[in-house]
Subunit: 251 residues, 2 copies
Amino acid sequence: MLQSRRIDQPEPAPQRVPKASQCATCVVRNRAVCGALSDEERERLGNEGRTVNVKRGQTLLWEGEDAMLVANVIEGVLKLSTSTSDGREQIVGVVYPADFIGRPFGERSNHSVTALVDSRVCIFSRASFDRFARQHPDLEHRLLARALDELDRARRWMLLLGRKSAMERVASFLLELSERLAASGCEDTTGPLDAYEMPLDRQQIADVLGLTIETVSRQLSALRAGAIIDTPSRRAIVIRDRAQLVGLAGD
Amino acid sequence: MLQSRRIDQPEPAPQRVPKASQCATCVVRNRAVCGALSDEERERLGNEGRTVNVKRGQTLLWEGEDAMLVANVIEGVLKLSTSTSDGREQIVGVVYPADFIGRPFGERSNHSVTALVDSRVCIFSRASFDRFARQHPDLEHRLLARALDELDRARRWMLLLGRKSAMERVASFLLELSERLAASGCEDTTGPLDAYEMPLDRQQIADVLGLTIETVSRQLSALRAGAIIDTPSRRAIVIRDRAQLVGLAGD
DNA sequence: ACCAGCCTTTGACCTGCATCAATAAGGTGG
DNA sequence: CCACCTTATTGATGCAGGTCAAAGGCTGGT
């Protein structure tokens, strides 16, 4: 069977930034769900929220526990993960700046949310966010649009997990990251990145792709040997031949 | 690699029932998204929709094509599926009565929708449904709740596809069906069914679980040999020892 | 600088599921 | 009731990727 997994250690609670949110200057205010609101409304929602720094490895929400909060990602990358009772883990989503975290209109969180790199999020109590959302149809509309996009993405991921080979999975993943990291930068989107810093370690890549760390490593080595990518350091990825990589992603 | 797949043959277009929808007596009117509307509003939405019969095997929406319609399932079971360019197929969702089909607020459908058994759905043009939804926040709220539930379900499915063994997958699937088929019957829900008719053939089960038809067959035989289930006919499932089956589902 | 403790890579081997192939069991029309 | 066809089961074999084990490489602390 699959190897078991180290458990993410409990960590000190995320550090609250004393100052209340400054929505007016928030870098993600337009792309996040808040973008649906007028300045005045956004300010009102902002008063119910707080900006919080989350260090790499810290967990914001635990699988199975009451999901008391929701949040917008301002900066950083976080993973959503579930595990079987015997410790096999699967990462079911990776979120970037402007993405929404949590389960509005639901009691419990179905997956843990953990920072992959030092991140900053804007949190709300679920109850107050739910109340606010119900009174602001435009906000709910943005939430819906986002949920539908996530659903499409999750389903594409199901094709990868159910039907793709190890090499196809790794190639697909490197390409997806190259696109999403480019889109999450606020700069004018100049298309997918050919060089980026990998926010996941090898174990986490394996957990996204439903593989083992060794298999991931071997596929990366093979791509390096074929001069299709380069990995100048552990966490750096350089795509040298995107066309071939696309071919290997196979869909 | 994985075996290739027979293509669903193009079929005659779904048959339109001449009579306009009779929302007032619709068996799923409360559980479907329409349940958010008043009688009067529902009637108004109903005037834009039509009831359509879809025969087993007929496809309502094609992957990659413009998604011109959305629908509510009134009766039956349908699959949502995607495939790789070389024909490997993955079923990414199975929908039951009261479930919603299609991609509101999106241009193209990311998966095909095909009837697994003779079904009846209530269709709307996407454009008119979108317009109506934007004017009815309660309807969008129900859509959002549904999308979030689907997302949770898809993510639990990702754990299955990424990390579970063949036996765990088959056991999980039999249990999920036993619950969802019970819930989709309009009768007072008396808990999960211990006997039901399997709406999928072996190939389709394999396509849901990311396995091959032979592996599915072997797991079912093993379960039968262990007196955990019985399969009195091809499409009949009887759960004889639910506790053990739950144990084998492993999560 | 140097050491300790990861994380990653690589190699050797094994196993669960895919693949290939042959029957068997329903189902359908004549 | 039989011939034919589709779908499911069972068996034999192979291989992709998992498991086990042993080196490397970074990194951070003193």
